[in-house]
C-alpha cells in the first residue's frame, strides 16, 4: 500500500512539472508596433465617391473588377454596402449635414489596428501585425473558424462561404505583399484622383490631420477617428460631421482584445492556477484514499 502511495505522489509531481514546461514554450504571432508604422489618412470632405479605389483594389487582388466605367454608377449608394469576399473596400454615401446637395462618401476597409483583435483572437496565429503597420492574414495557417470575424470591432474580415474547399478570409491587406512591404503605396491611394487618401507615417498623418482641423475649423468636425479608437488604428479619418452620422461604430478607446488577454494570462501565467487546482484535488483524493484504507 505504501508503495502505491509513493508512486501516486511521484507521478503527480512529475506530471505537474512536465505540464508547466510544455505550456511555457508556446509562441504568439508577430505583433509589432513600430514607431515608424505607415498609415492612410482619409479625408472624407475631399472624397467625391468615384469608387476608383474599389476598382484598383479588385484589380490589385485579382478579384473580378469589371470595366472601370461601371464604377461611375452611383445607384449602388442607395443601400449600405460592406466589404465582403469579392470587394475588400467599398464606398458608402451619407447625407451631408451642412450642404444637402453634396452627399458625404466614406471609403471602408480594414483599419489595421495598432492592437488588433483578430491577431489576439486567431486560434492558430494566422493574423499578424507587420512592422509597416499592415495587419495581414496567412493562408497557410488558417483553419476557417471565423473567430477573427467575431472579434473584429469594425466587422471587416469576410469569409468565402461558397467554397467547399480552401475558403479564404478576405480583408484589406494594405497591399502588403506586392506594394507596401517593398516601399510602394497601396493601390487605392495611388489611383485616388482627388487625393482624398494620403499615405505616410502614421505619426506624421496625425500631425497633418490636426493641422488641417486647426486651419479649417469650419470644414472639419474636431475629431480624428482612429487616433485613439481601439487604442489607435493605422487608417485615420477626417470628416465634416459627427462620425456617428457616417455609420462609424462606437468602439471606445481601449484595445479591442479588451479583457480577454489579461483573463487568459491570469489563468495561465506560469501555469500556476491549473497546477494548483490539480494539486489541491490530488490532495483531497489522497486524503480520502488514506481515510478509506484506515477504515479497512
Amino acid at each position: 500500500m505504501d508503495q502505491s502511495r509513493r508512486t501516486f505522489l511521484k507521478t503527480l509531481g512529475l506530471v505537474s512539472f512536465s505540464a508547466a514546461g510544455a505550456k511555457k514554450s508556446k509562441a504568439t504571432p508577430t505583433n509589432i508596433l513600430s514607431d515608424d508604422r505607415m498609415g492612410v489618412l482619409v479625408d472624407t470632405t475631399v472624397c467625391i465617391g468615384c469608387r476608383r479605389c474599389e476598382y484598383a483594389c479588385k484589380a490589385e487582388h485579382n478579384l473580378p473588377a469589371g470595366d472601370i466605367d461601371d464604377y461611375n454608377d452611383r445607384s449602388v449608394f442607395e443601400r449600405l454596402r460592406r466589404p465582403d469576399a469579392d470587394a475588400l473596400t467599398v464606398v458608402n454615401q451619407y447625407p451631408n449635414d451642412k450642404e444637402d446637395r453634396l452627399p458625404v462618401t466614406v471609403k471602408v476597409q480594414c483599419m489595421h489596428c495598432d492592437h488588433p483583435a483578430c491577431v489576439s483572437a486567431c486560434i492558430v496565429g494566422a493574423f499578424s501585425k507587420q512592422k509597416n503597420g499592415a495587419v495581414i492574414w496567412d493562408e497557410s495557417r488558417c483553419i476557417g473558424c471565423r473567430y477573427c470575424m467575431v472579434a473584429c470591432p469594425f466587422q471587416i474580415p469576410a469569409f468565402e462561404y461558397d467554397k467547399a474547399i480552401e475558403p479564404k478570409i478576405m480583408k484589406c491587406d494594405f497591399c502588403y505583399e506586392n506594394r507596401t512591404s517593398k516601399g510602394g503605396i497601396p493601390a487605392c491611394v495611388e489611383i485616388c484622383p482627388v487625393e482624398a487618401l494620403t499615405f505616410g507615417k502614421r505619426y506624421e498623418l496625425v500631425q497633418l490631420a490636426h493641422e488641417k482641423i486647426r486651419r479649417n475649423p469650419d470644414r472639419y468636425f474636431d475629431h480624428l477617428f482612429g487616433e485613439h479608437e481601439v487604442a489607435g488604428t493605422s487608417w485615420l479619418y477626417l470628416a465634416g460631421q459627427d462620425f456617428k452620422s457616417l455609420d462609424f461604430p462606437d468602439v471606445g478607446t481601449d484595445p479591442a482584445p479588451g479583457a480577454t488577454e489579461p483573463i487568459q494570462h491570469a489563468i495561465f501565467k506560469f501555469f500556476v492556477p491549473p497546477v494548483a487546482l490539480y494539486a489541491l484535488l490530488g490532495g483531497i483524493m489522497w486524503l480520502g484514499k488514506q481515510n478509506r484504507e484506515e477504515e479497512e
Binding site: 504568439t28 483583435a117 470591432p153 467547399a164 480577454t260 483573463i263
Partner: protein, 414 residues
C-alpha cells in the same frame, strides 16, 4: 442495496419506434452533411459575414460542452471526494461525456471552413487566443475521456477474445495486451481522473471568455468580465441534472428499474449549486446595473428572463422540495428545466446577444443547420444505445446473485 447492482451489457432488442425515428433524423442529418462538405458552408447555412457563428457553435459546441459536464462532476464526486455511494453513476456519466465531447468535436468540424487543418491547432497555437485554450483543452480532455472509458472495454473483452480463422493466432496477444493495459490503467487512473477534472474546469470557464473579445457586439445582459466564472458555475450545476435525466431516460427506454434512491441523493446537490450560480448571476447584474435593460421588452430581455426564470429559479425551488426528489416525473422535469436553462444560456451568449454593428441580413438558423444539429444528437443517442448493449455500463440486478448463499458463505455484508 448497491451490492445487488452490477454493470452489465443491456439485453434488449435494438430497434423500437423511437429508435426508428432517430435513425430517420440521423439519415436526414447525413444527407445535409454531404451537401455541407460538398458545396461549402454557404450552401447549407444562413451564416454570413455579419453572423460568422450560429447554431452549430452555440448549440453543438458551447451547449454540448456544458451538457457533457456530468462526466467530470460525477467522477470528481465519486473518485476525488470518495462518495462511493454514487459509484453506479460513474460509468454512464463517463460514457455520455465521452459521446458528448466526441460530438462536440464532430460539430466543430462541420463549422470549420478548413476542417482538414484542425491539426494546426496543437502545432501552431496562439497562446493569446481564448479559442486556442478551449480547443487544446477539449482535445486533451476528449483523449482523457477515452482513457477513462477504456477499463470498461478491457472488462468486456478480457478472456473473451475469440477471433476465428486466420486471425486466430491474435487471440492470445490481444488478450495479454488488454490485461496489461487494464493493469496499467488501474495504477494510473487517478492521474487521468484528476487531469479530466482540471481540464474541464479550464475549458468550461474559457468558453465563457470566448465572446468577451466581441466587446460591444454582445448585449450587456451577457457581456460581463465574470462570464468565465458564470460558465463554470453553470457547468457544475448542470452536471448532475444531466446524469439524472440520462439515467431516468435510459431506464425507461431500456426497461430497467431507475435507481431512484441514488438519484434523489444526487439531486440534493443541485439546489445549492444552482443557488451559487444564481447568486453570482444576479450579483453581477446588480453591480453592473444591467437590470435597466430588462425595462425594455425585446428579444434579448425576454430570452434573459426565460433563461433565469425557467432554467434557474423554478428548478432551484423544485430541487429544494422533498416531493420532487421522491417523484420520478417531477425529478425528471426539474432536471430537464436545468438542462434547458443552460442550453438557452449558451444559445443566448453566442447567438441572442450577438449584434454586429452593420446588419445587412439578419441571421436565422437554416433548415440545413437545424437538420445537422438534430441529426448529430440523434446519432449520439443511437450510439449511447449501442454502447450500453455492448459494454457493461449501466448497473443492473445481477441474475446469478443469491443473497442468502452469499451472506452464509462470507458472513459479512459488504
Amino acid at each position: 442495496m448497491d451490492e445487488l447492482l452490477k454493470p452489465a451489457p443491456v439485453k434488449r432488442p435494438f430497434l423500437s419506434t423511437g429508435v426508428i425515428i432517430l435513425i430517420v433524423l440521423a439519415l436526414n442529418g447525413i444527407v445535409w452533411s454531404i451537401l455541407r462538405f460538398g458545396l461549402g458552408l454557404g450552401a447549407v447555412t444562413n451564416l454570413n459575414n455579419q453572423y460568422p457563428w450560429g447554431l452549430w457553435i452555440g448549440i453543438d459546441v458551447a451547449a454540448g460542452v456544458a451538457l457533457a459536464a456530468g462526466g467530470f462532476t460525477t467522477s470528481a464526486l465519486v473518485h476525488i471526494f470518495y462518495r462511493e455511494d454514487f459509484r453506479v453513476l460513474v460509468r454512464p456519466a463517463i460514457m455520455t461525456a465521452m459521446l458528448g465531447y466526441t460530438f462536440v468535436a464532430v460539430g466543430v468540424m462541420f463549422d470549420l471552413g478548413r476542417y482538414y487543418n484542425i491539426w494546426h491547432v496543437p502545432v501552431m497555437g496562439n497562446s493569446n487566443s481564448v479559442l486556442f485554450e478551449v480547443g487544446i483543452c477539449v482535445m486533451t480532455y476528449l483523449g482523457t475521456l477515452y482513457i477513462e472509458f477504456f477499463p470498461i472495454v478491457t472488462e468486456r473483452f478480457i478472456g473473451k477474445v475469440h477471433l476465428k480463422g486466420a486471425l486466430r493466432f491474435l487471440n492470445r496477444p490481444i488478450d495479454s495486451a488488454l490485461r496489461w493495459i487494464d493493469n496499467f490503467l488501474d495504477n494510473t487512473m487517478f492521474f487521468f481522473i484528476l487531469l479530466g477534472v482540471v481540464l474541464s474546469c479550464l475549458h468550461q470557464s474559457s468558453l465563457g471568455t470566448l465572446m468577451l473579445i466581441a466587446g460591444p457586439k454582445i448585449h450587456p445582459l451577457w457581456q460581463t468580465p465574470i462570464s468565465p466564472l458564470l460558465f463554470l458555475l453553470s457547468a457544475f450545476a448542470v452536471g448532475f441534472p444531466m446524469v439524472i435525466m440520462e439515467s431516468l431516460s435510459a431506464s425507461r427506454s431500456l426497461g430497467l428499474k431507475p435507481e431512484m434512491d441514488v438519484l434523489a441523493r444526487l439531486a440534493r446537490f443541485v439546489g445549492p449549486l444552482l443557488g451559487v450560480y444564481l447568486a453570482f448571476k444576479i450579483g453581477d447584474m446588480v453591480i453592473r446595473g444591467t437590470y435597466v435593460y430588462l425595462n425594455e421588452i425585446n428579444f434579448a430581455s425576454v430570452m434573459w428572463v426565460v433563461e433565469i426564470l425557467f432554467g434557474v429559479i423554478i428548478p432551484i425551488r423544485m430541487f429544494f422540495w422533498d416531493k420532487v426528489l421522491r417523484s420520478r416525473t417531477l425529478l425528471y422535469l426539474a432536471s430537464l428545466l436545468v438542462i434547458f436553462g443552460v442550453l438557452i444560456n449558451r444559445f443566448n451568449v453566442f447567438i441572442t446577444a450577438y449584434t454586429p454593428p452593420y446588419i445587412l441580413k439578419p441571421y436565422k438558423p437554416s433548415i440545413g443547420e437545424i437538420s445537422i444539429t438534430i441529426g448529430l444528437i440523434s446519432l449520439e443517442i443511437l450510439l449511447y444505445r449501442t454502447l450500453v448493449m455492448i459494454f457493461p455500463v449501466l448497473a443492473q440486478p445481477d441474475k446469478n446473485y443469491r443473497p442468502k448463499a452469499k451472506f452464509a458463505i462470507r458472513g459479512v455484508i459488504r
